[in-house]
């Protein structure tokens, strides 16, 4: 392995285990390193201590939903001067009001569930460069 290779890190915040597993499978096979959070609060904590190139944030989660977590993430970035991390919402709704909620919370993009691998990859590629080599297995 080339030691200079840097694998993009993605945080997936999603309460439903099967959805997390799916995104993990699709992204690790394409060279991403994936961390997982089960709710917005966990996502906030993980993103405070580790750098992520991209965050997938489910809108509806227990403990703290994706809207609130993103709002707090944006506040923290503004307060600390950290680089803005792209946040892509996972949503089951296509209503304009729901997408407006995503936008207002500070999310940059959205994916409507369920999605195909092609749609997921296209969403990632809109925000970060795709890795050229598979990431090592943990």
């Amino acid at each position: 392995m080339n030691l200079s290779t840097r694998y993009p890190r993605v945080l997936v915040a999603e309460d439903m285990e099967m959805s997390r597993q799916l995104v993990r499978l699709l992204l690790t096979s394409r060279g991403f390193i994936v961390d997982e959070a089960e709710n917005g609060l966990q996502a906030l904590e993980l993103s405070e201590h580790g750098h992520y190139d991209l965050i997938f944030m489910d809108c509806l989660m227990p403990v703290m939903d994706g809207y609130e977590a993103t709002r707090r993430l944006r506040e923290r970035e503004a307060a600390t001067g950290c680089q803005r991390t792209p946040v892509i919402a996972f949503t089951g709704c296509t209503l304009g009001s729901d997408l407006e909620l995503c936008n207002t919370a500070g999310m940059d993009d959205y994916l409507i569930k369920p999605f195909t691998p092609e749609v997921l990859v296209a969403a990632v590629a809109r925000w970060i460069a795709m890795p050229s080599a598979p990431a090592p297995r943990p």
């Binding site: 099967m18 499978l25 699709l26 569930k113 369920p114």
Partner: protein, 136 residues
């Protein structure tokens, strides 16, 4: 080889979602069998208490849609919307049909773990047309 037909799920949906990788298909199918029953129990409890029904429907719906259970997913979506609108009793009325479909989804996912290899299911063997899922 036994002929398998699917009336509740469409295994091609999950297979396509995991890049046509049979190992991933089986991993996710096993996860469905593990996580969906407790989700359904929470939904039934929520129907009794009226607390957390919309979220219970929403979470289970996220799993059923992945295994291509269209009718079940549609029912859960209807219940979720009714619950968000405060119409708990409509959800109670839907429970028997929901339970029947849910148990059928478990049976068919178990069957697909054994019989589905990505190539053995023709459109004629699946009651739910693929196009109706892709249009979602």
């Amino acid at each position: 080889m036994p002929q398998t037909s699917y009336h509740c799920i469409d295994p091609r949906v999950l297979f396509r979602t995991v890049d046509n990788d049979i190992a991933s298909f089986r991993d996710l199918s096993r996860t469905y069998l593990e996580i969906a029953p407790p989700m359904f129990e929470r939904l039934e409890q929520a129907l009794q208490t009226g607390v957390g029904l919309a979220n219970a429907c929403h979470t289970l719906k996220g799993a059923t849609v992945l295994v291509g259970a269209v009718q079940l997913t549609d029912l859960l979506a209807a219940m979720e919307h009714a619950a968000r609108d405060g119409q708990k009793h409509e959800g109670v009325d839907l429970l028997p049909g929901l339970r029947r479909l849910f148990l059928l989804s478990l049976k068919e996912v178990r069957s697909s773990l054994v019989n589905f290899n990505g190539h053995t299911v023709s459109a004629a063997e699946v009651a739910v047309p693929m196009a109706s899922l892709e249009a979602r």
